[in-house]
């Protein structure tokens, strides 16, 4: 007999508790500050402190390294709930994850013990430096050099669009160690913010996510000891792509949160806004828009959670699911936030309401950690591989 009271397709109640806990913090602390965080720009130190106090700044670090030990699904819910009220603040979580995953995937036990407890305690923020001005989607075209010098490595080059640069204490940096080896000539390193020869560009003036800081990172004869090599020499790209499989779930969760926040904003507004003598929610044209938005948001959620589940167990199809979740959720975020602005009408276009901020914040989720065009290439490759 089929048991009609449980099904594996519904989340166990503990995830509701995770969501409730994260939502309480988000709504009580982060939501009320979101407009100000966006307006003033720069890294929101107050929200980093809030997230740290609530244990939400770096969800998913294993317990043996001082973390909460929750799985990727719980971590995705944490990101989703923070992004729902303040996408900028959720970059603290995604930025940390970009630092944590390479250490878990490729780090030695010593390296993990060196860095992860500090991140888990909120003492150190992490950043991930892979893109360059001329090497975005074509990541293997990077020029940043790491030259062996005795036991040390010396880094020279420029990394671009680095989230949390200047605030992060540790950066995972990808650099060319063997110029003739092509994509197998790239290696990963851990660089400390206080290493000599590291500098930062002016904060980028961005369209959205204004409450996160994005800068170039300059390496000018930046000397680091040999034990900072992360994973094997020449296997950096593998670390980078392996990391993105997991962290795209986080970007998907971030996009999902933004979309849900926009939907909630719109649902609230249309019931209050009176035109032609009644709430605009009474108009079927508005209702159809809302239904479409909600349907898209829930589809994105299912995709993101399915990808998160594959991240938990490092499933062989994680690459496909990570790409699909990030791509779908970010496209949904863009569509739903745009519709939310539309539903709020003239008010939606002003900064007195959160919809326009959400629309600006949504855009980057279609771009970073691989543009959605790249995601589609990743998916298509997986599809065609099986033939």
């Amino acid at each position: 007999m089929t048991d009609h009271t449980t099904t594996p397709y519904l989340l166990p109640p503990m995830y509701d508790e995770f969501r409730a806990a994260a939502r309480t913090v988000a709504e009580k602390e982060l939501g009320p500050r979101a407009a100000e965080v966006d307006a003033r720009g720069g890294f929101p130190h107050d929200n980093y402190a809030t997230l740290t106090a609530a244990g939400l700044h770096a969800p998913g670090i294993p317990e043996e390294y001082g973390g909460d030990g929750v799985d990727a699904l719980a971590a995705a819910i944490a990101v989703e709930e923070v992004a729902r009220v303040c996408a900028s603040s959720s970059t603290i979580q995604t930025s940390n994850k970009l630092g944590v995953v390479p250490l878990l995937l490729a780090g030695t036990e010593e390296q993990r013990r060196r860095y992860l407890p500090e991140v888990a305690a909120g003492e150190a923020l992490m950043a991930y430096a892979i893109s360059e001005r001329e090497a975005g989607s074509d990541v293997a075209a990077m020029r940043c050099r790491a030259a062996a010098d005795g036991d040390d490595w010396v880094l020279d080059g420029v990394k671009t669009w680095i989230t949390s640069a200047g605030v992060a204490m540790y950066l995972i940096v990808f650099a060319v160690t063997d110029p003739d080896a092509g994509s197998r000539g790239i290696s990963a390193f851990v660089v400390h913010a206080d290493d000599s020869g590291i500098g930062y560009g002016e904060p980028e003036r961005k369209m959205g996510l204004k409450g996160s800081v994005t800068r170039e990172v300059y390496f000018d004869g930046c000397r680091i000891p040999g034990d900072r090599l992360l994973g094997e020499r020449g296997r950096g790209l593998r670390v980078a792509l392996g990391t993105l499989d997991h962290t795209r779930v986080s970007v998907g969760a971030q996009a999902l949160g933004i979309a849900q926040g926009a939907l909630d904003t719109a649902v609230g507004y249309v019931q209050e806004r009176q035109q032609f003598g009644k709430a605009i929610a009474d108009f079927q044209g508005v209702q159809f828009m809302l239904a479409d938005m909600a349907m898209k948001v829930e589809s994105a959620r299912q995709m993101v959670y399915a990808a998160a589940a594959r991240s938990c167990v490092a499933a062989p199809d994680l690459t496909y699911f990570g790409a699909a979740a990030k791509c779908l959720a970010s496209d949904v975020a863009m569509a739903v936030t745009t519709d939310a602005v539309q539903l709020l009408g003239g008010y939606g276009y002003t900064q007195d309401f959160p919809a326009e901020r959400m629309m600006r914040d949504a855009k980057i989720t279609q771009i970073y950690e691989g543009t959605n065009q790249i995601q589609r290439i990743v998916m298509a490759r997986k599809l065609l591989q099986t033939r």
């Binding site: 503990m14 969800p59 909460d68």
Partner: protein, 289 residues
């Protein structure tokens, strides 16, 4: 010696949702979503702070309530309490404050305690009498309405702020302490706390376990009885009265004593004089109750 702290917490209907009485005029707990009473979160927080300041302490959260009341315990355990006790018995339905204090006293005695912490009142019944009743039943000192709590060497000290004075109080342990919402923001449960709470023990006790007869509690054993309850009437839109000389009469009705008072008000009240001019269409707010 382990400092044994017991926090009494209540599972209450969510005040942001729809709350109703059941047919027997008890709070309808089936229809509304419940949660840990917000005022009790302060007591849990103070217990955790006392524990953190102590060398060796254990925090037990205790609740009396229906099956779902275990959610209130889970929340407190997620915040950091060590174990829970859930007293549940169908004969408890309709128990009043006196009866509840009896159950709590028996449970507190059974589990053993040095310090009992309570919130200042529940957010549903809001009687605020339970800490005092509990202390009486336990025959230990009580300090209520505290905004600060500290435990040191067999004593509990605290501060009580009233409208006219701030008192510094001290009691020997064991004691019952109730804290206000000024005692310090309650922490949020962390994911780590939520995971840890799953492994923390929650004991289930019924009345027999506490040696309490069914007729001492429940609706039958209650000293007070709710005879009737009516929903607060919905607020109606106010009527705007434009004063063109007879506004007072319009408000209070012709010949009503109040009419004269309102008329005088029109010339003398601060609202008019503060602006150094007579407001031609002054509209005193209409008392709606």
């Amino acid at each position: 010696m382990t400092l044994r702290i017991v926090v009494c917490v209540k599972y209450v209907p969510d005040a942001t949702g729809d709350r109703h009485f059941a047919e027997d005029l008890t709070v309808d707990r089936d229809e509304a979503d419940g949660l840990l009473s917000e005022l009790d979160e302060y007591a849990v927080e103070q217990a955790l702070r006392v524990k953190e300041a102590a060398d060796d302490a254990e925090v037990t959260v205790l609740t009396v309530g229906p099956e779902d009341a275990v959610d209130a315990l889970r929340k407190a355990l997620s915040m950091g309490a060590d174990k829970g006790i859930h007293v549940e018995d169908e004969d408890l339905h309709g128990t009043d404050a006196l009866g509840t204090s009896l159950v709590l006293a028996k449970a507190v005695e059974k589990t053993g305690y040095d310090l009992v912490l309570c919130g200042m009142a529940s957010t549903d019944g809001a009687m605020g009498v339970l800490p005092a009743m509990l202390a009486e039943r336990l025959r230990v000192p009580q300090m209520t309405q505290l905004s600060e709590v500290a435990v040191d060497g067999g004593k509990v000290t605290g501060r009580r702020d009233s409208d006219t004075a701030g008192e510094q109080l001290e009691a020997s342990l064991p004691a019952v302490v109730a804290v206000t919402d000024q005692s310090g923001e309650a922490r949020y449960p962390s994911f780590k706390g939520i995971v840890a709470a799953k492994k923390k023990p929650v004991e289930e006790w019924d009345l027999a376990e506490l040696d309490i007869d069914a007729d001492e509690v429940g609706l039958e054993g209650a000293y007070s009885l709710v005879e009737d309850a009516a929903e607060r009437p919905a607020r109606t839109a106010g009527t705007i009265v434009t004063d063109e000389g007879e506004g007072a009469e319009q408000l209070a009705g012709p010949g009503h004593r109040g009419a004269g008072r309102l008329a005088r008000c029109r010339r003398r009240c601060l609202a008019c004089r503060g602006g150094r001019r007579l407001v031609p269409a002054h509209q005193p707010s209409r008392p709606d109750r």
